[in-house]
């Protein structure tokens, strides 16, 4: 009987030992080819954001991370990645996608922030993130990286910020099992039991290996080709003023079919006809001044300060004609932006490019809330010197007041 049992279950046992043995071993994977890395860095793929391998290699190769939500997917010839490749002499690592907000970026970039010690990044912060509900749950679940969250849980945890972060992630409602147990411990201000740490470590090892194994099969995006094609549309050398003029020309041409100065491609597919009629006055009640997002954003700021990262913040505008059409309140937007700026400057984040008053400039926005053409040129005017020149060592003084409900609900004059 034993022999027969072995004939039946032996192969299963061997297969399990082989698979789990391999996945649990601390495997090392070689570097991705430079060309592949370059393509992945601008791909804006979800697996790049959630993973670790590509990001870590990119940071190791001196790529500059650009963090955003969907801004960076607007790839016209003046997109930061194009200008960086053409004139800047630096490489961009684009991280974000529609629906990524502070909490998602906080969780997904845990392994990367540690490697960015004393380095620089660019952060595009949209006022549109600061809705009364904050981070959308479905988007959080879509961009959820168990690997990154596990590595966060295994770090040294304690204190108000970690408790707040754990509580917020639990509120997203998509975690389960040991990770959820760990979050509950951190939220309660307790240490993780030893057995939980062991389980999490084993799980993390499996996730690391999976990331290392499968990131080489990551789907390729067309962005790299789009960028190199866009580069060819630019002159070999140009002053900022020349670029601005060219951008104005291209923008005017690409948006000539509608009254909003929105790219015709976007307008025709998303707005033309009945769709736009329904949107008239639809944003009159939008309010970005009170939101848990302010505290989620604080988690990121705290991470930047801990790792002494110098951050160039960019606050993009809303297309002014669009805002007028949808009834988005200007005073509300002004107060939102000044609240964000206050949270930054009060804690020592001094590199802030506030473009929020520029929404009425021609050829500035590619669509309703996303920068394009001349807007990108303006971004580049600030970002390029920020990256190329040496910046003073930042002095941050982080306050936990920004994690409180009273700050979330605070509205200035």
């Amino acid at each position: 009987m034993k022999r027969k049992l072995w004939l039946i279950f032996g192969p299963v046992v061997c297969a399990c030992v082989l698979v789990f043995g391999t996945l649990l071993m601390p495997l090392h994977f070689g570097k991705p080819a430079p060309k592949k890395l370059a393509a992945a860095a601008v791909s804006l793929n979800q697996d790049v954001l959630l993973g670790g391998t590509i990001k870590n290699h990119a940071v190791g190769a001196d790529y500059v991370p650009f963090i955003d939500s969907s801004e960076l997917s607007r790839m016209d010839p003046f997109h930061p990645s194009v200008l960086a490749a053409k004139y800047g002499g630096y490489k961009t690592l684009l991280l974000g996608g529609p629906g990524t907000q502070s909490l998602t970026q906080f969780v997904d970039n845990q392994s990367m922030f540690k490697r960015l010690r004393n380095r620089k990044i660019v952060f595009i912060i949209s006022p549109q993130w600061f809705t009364p509900g904050g981070q959308r749950r479905d988007a959080f679940a879509y961009y959820y990286s168990p690997m990154q969250l596990t590595s966060w849980l295994l770090g040294k945890r304690g204190g108000a910020a970690d408790r707040y972060a754990a509580r917020r992630i639990l509120q997203m409602g998509n975690t389960s099992g040991t990770v959820r147990q760990g979050l509950l411990s951190v939220a309660a201000g307790q240490k993780l039991p030893q057995w939980q740490r062991h389980l999490l470590k084993a799980h993390l090892q499996i996730l690391h290996n999976e990331d290392g194994l499968f990131s080489r099969f990551a789907s390729v995006s067309k962005n790299a080709t789009r960028i190199s094609k866009a580069e060819k549309k630019l002159p070999a050398s140009a002053t900022d003023a020349q670029l601005d003029k060219l951008a104005g020309k291209m923008g005017a041409h690409a948006s000539r079919g509608n009254d909003f100065g929105i790219s015709d491609k976007f307008f025709d597919s998303r707005l033309r006809g009945k769709k736009i009629v329904r949107l008239q006055g639809s944003q009159a009640s939008f309010d970005y001044r009170r939101s848990p997002e302010y505290s989620d954003f604080q988690l990121l700021l705290r991470n930047f300060a801990q790792n002494n990262i110098t951050v160039q913040f960019v606050i993009p505008p809303v297309n002014a004609k669009w805002a007028a059409y949808t009834g988005l309140r200007d005073d509300m937007l002004t107060q939102t932006v000044s609240k964000i700026k206050h949270q930054l400057s009060a804690q020592g984040f001094n590199h802030v490019l506030d473009m929020s008053r520029d929404g009425k400039k021609a050829s500035y926005m590619e669509d309703t809330i996303h920068l394009g053409w001349r807007g990108w040129v303006d971004v580049d005017k600030t970002v390029r010197p920020f990256i190329k020149q040496k910046q003073a060592t930042p002095h941050y003084h982080i306050s936990n007041y920004y994690l409180t409900r009273s700050w979330q609900q605070h509205v200035g004059e």
Binding site: L5, L7, I8, V12, S176, R270
Partner: protein
């Protein structure tokens, strides 16, 4: 407590097989630990309907009590008497919960409160028991055994549908050691075939490809004069058909596998259905436990009744009407929507045409070789895939819902 859905992920299998280990060891030693097995089943059922699914759990308990009462009382009654109206009343009472659950979506946007995952499959079992009590093929009902039959864990949520007497034969005996070792071997085979089907091939078709072809087809709503018929729709048809097969066949294989570990020969559900040479052959290969159930308890009964009441003299007409009723009932069972009902009618039509063809062919010496066989398989396959396109409900989305922004 989060609920634990059957066969949803690898962890479920590890926990389930670990829990069943005493049963497996017992069977290897020639003993069946019935009470322990029932205990494991109970725990897993609680886990299935735990957490936010507790309402379904309550519905399940009420449902089981209801069916148990019906079957036990009718069993007692049937020992001495056999009146038609009583039988039909019991039968209707047994079908009633499922009928209510299936009809509720027609009248209300909220799903029925008495519904739960697996209600269909439990209903097949209890209806069959009532019918066989009437036939006299089941003589006596042991309430505890009926519960074990009804709530047999491996098949509780989606079949295959076992029969009372067949199950009793397995369950009341113990396989010989050689036989059981062979069952274990099959169990492992089914399990891994199921993994390949559901988690790899089904995943490729269902998760990777299906959303893409669906999107492509929806982008071409206005194709062919507004009918939405496009190459993408054709691609959707095949991708969906493959997904449906591999997902469901994989699921059935899991149920078979765990049944084998429990020493029960649950009937198989699929036998290479896409190799069928005609529609009749197809229904002998596709979701077999369901189609055989319908054959025995709908088609045969309807045929018998029509003959008895002499509605038709012509035997061909009798079977045509029986097919129509059979597949209509099956359509309604899938759900009361136009596409499930059309799916039923479509198959009834296909099988009736198939019958005409077989009768026409009988007296003639038509060529029959490898190529005609291949042609038959090709035609059948495409007819079936088209029926699955109807079944998928995608045409409903394509034609009757508004474009999503």
């Amino acid at each position: 407590m989060p609920s634990m859905q059957p066969y949803a992920n690898p962890r479920y299998f590890v926990i389930l097989i670990a829990a069943l280990l005493p049963v497996i060891i017992g069977l290897l030693r020639g003993r069946r630990h019935r009470n322990y097995e029932s205990f494991v089943a109970l725990i897993f059922i609680i886990a299935m309907f735990g957490g936010d699914k507790w309402q379904q759990g309550v519905a399940l308990i009420a449902y089981v009590i209801w069916q148990l009462l019906l079957v036990v009382c009718y069993g007692k009654y049937r020992q001495t008497k056999n009146a038609g109206p009583i039988y039909y009343t019991v039968l209707l009472a047994s079908i009633a919960p499922l009928a209510i659950v299936k009809l509720t979506p027609v009248f209300s946007p909220q799903p029925s409160l008495i519904g739960f995952l697996g209600i269909s499959y439990l209903t097949f079992k209890s209806v069959q028991t009532v019918m066989e009590l009437r036939d006299g093929t089941i003589k006596q009902i042991d309430p505890l055994f009926f519960l074990r039959f009804l709530l047999f864990l491996p098949t509780i949520s989606s079949g295959p549908i076992d029969r009372y007497r067949r199950f009793a034969k397995d369950y009341n005996g113990v396989p010989k050691q050689d036989e059981y070792l062979e069952m274990l071997r099959k169990g492992v085979r089914y399990l891994f075939q199921g993994f390949a089907y559901k988690f790899i091939i089904g995943y490729v078709f269902g998760t990777l490809m299906l959303p893409r072809v669906a999107h492509m087809a929806l982008m071409q709503r206005s194709a062919m004069g507004g009918t939405g018929i496009s190459w993408a729709l054709v691609a959707y048809m095949y991708v969906y058909s493959m997904y449906l097969f591999f997902d469901f066949a994989g699921y059935s294989l899991f149920a078979l596998s765990i049944s084998q570990f429990c020493g029960i020969n649950t009937p198989v559900n699929f036998n290479q259905p896409f190799k069928a040479k005609n529609i009749k052959d197809f229904w002998n290969r596709w979701h077999m436990s369901l189609s055989f159930w319908f054959r025995d308890f709908v088609f045969m009964r309807v045929t018998f009744m029509i003959m008895k009441k002499r509605w038709f003299k012509n035997r061909v007409r009798v079977s045509q009407l029986a097919y129509l009723i059979n597949f209509l009932v099956m359509g309604f069972w899938h759900g009361v929507t136009w596409y499930y009902i059309v799916y039923g009618l479509f198959h009834a039509g296909a099988i009736i045409i198939n019958d005409y063809w077989l009768r026409y062919k009988k007296g003639k010496s038509l060529p029959s070789n490898r190529w005609t066989g291949a042609l038959a398989i090709f035609v059948t396959f495409n007819v079936v895939c088209f029926s699955f396109l109807i079944f998928s409900g995608f045409l409903n989305t394509l034609w009757f819902t508004h474009a999503i922004r």
